[in-house]
Subunit: 141 residues, 2 copies
DNA sequence: TTTTTATAGAAAACAATTATCGAGTAATTT
DNA sequence: AAATTACTCGATAATTGTTTTCTATAAAAA
């Protein structure tokens, strides 16, 4: 993993810096689909001088070299995901968390759409919204 | 249609104003999925004094009374749709236009996801991106 | 090393959206 | 119809997420 990002950066002419490694490490070791601010806050303790702009610029690079994908779950900010398989997401409308949707095969659906449209489909994002188990429990009390 | 929005507004305690009717009429007679600025520009000629803030506030109300849905196609601004059926959208990554995806049944897919997750699913949005027929033609020349 | 080049971070700029507020207008009451 | 009330418009300012600019400095190359 470390090797991967290091050589990927270098191969594309980007420098390997502690900030970039820290940001990628943080993102690839969480399932919380954080936005720029969450990443910034998390790294604040360890990298007190890091700025939000660095997070944004790094995400731009990581996206470009194919290490992260950008999510747009109907909020006012973008979220980031280091898992590069194209999987659906679900957002809890009460607590706001965004999680993966597992165990669902999107290929059949994607193929159906690809064949039914004149667009040349390059990708897609599926967002569900609803209430997470936690919030359901809270509500029923 | 006119009747519908008029009575819906009144029933929910909102006043029926020319601006609101104009915005809703414009939106329901286009398939371009405009964002606030596009709506504003389009109405500028007929309503020279209308402000962007009014467009935003009106969209908020129209969303609340269930007459429009808000789209989030991975851009930096929201788009609006007066068609309330839940249908997938596709955005051309070259010219930026957003169109409907027709003739595809999402129910089976939605059901599969609903049953595979512990979330109580309330809704979803499906976005595809690719290249529209026009831009494909341009590219091949 | 030394030299070259890209980057980090502070600060300012930007763009989409939201909030505030006073004057105006529609609905309601008299 | 007139008066009262409550809501709304649009100008302006504020906010928020993101991008740009600039320069000392860290990383890569020589
Ligand atoms: Mn994910
Ligand atoms: Mn549509
Ligand atoms: Zn929740
Ligand atoms: Zn196009």
């Amino acid at each position: 993993m470390e090797v991967c990002i290091t050589s990927l950066l270098r191969d594309k002419g980007f420098k390997v810096t502690p900030q970039r490694l820290a940001i990628y490490n943080m993102l690839s070791s969480t399932r919380s689909h954080p936005n720029a601010e969450m990443i910034f806050n998390e790294l604040q303790a360890m990298y007190p001088t890091m700025s939000l702009a660095t997070v944004y610029k790094t995400m731009e690079i990581l996206k470009e070299i194919g290490l992260v994908q950008v999510l747009n779950a109907g909020e006012d900010s973008f979220r980031y995901d280091a898992v590069m398989t194209n999987h659906p997401h679900v957002r809890c409308t009460e607590c706001g968390k965004v999680e993966d949707v597992y165990d669902v095969n999107i290929d059949a659906f994607v193929n159906e759409v690809s064949q039914g449209t004149k667009y040349q489909i390059m990708g897609q994002q599926f967002y569900f919204h609803g209430i997470c188990p936690n919030c359901q429990r809270k509500n029923s009390n």
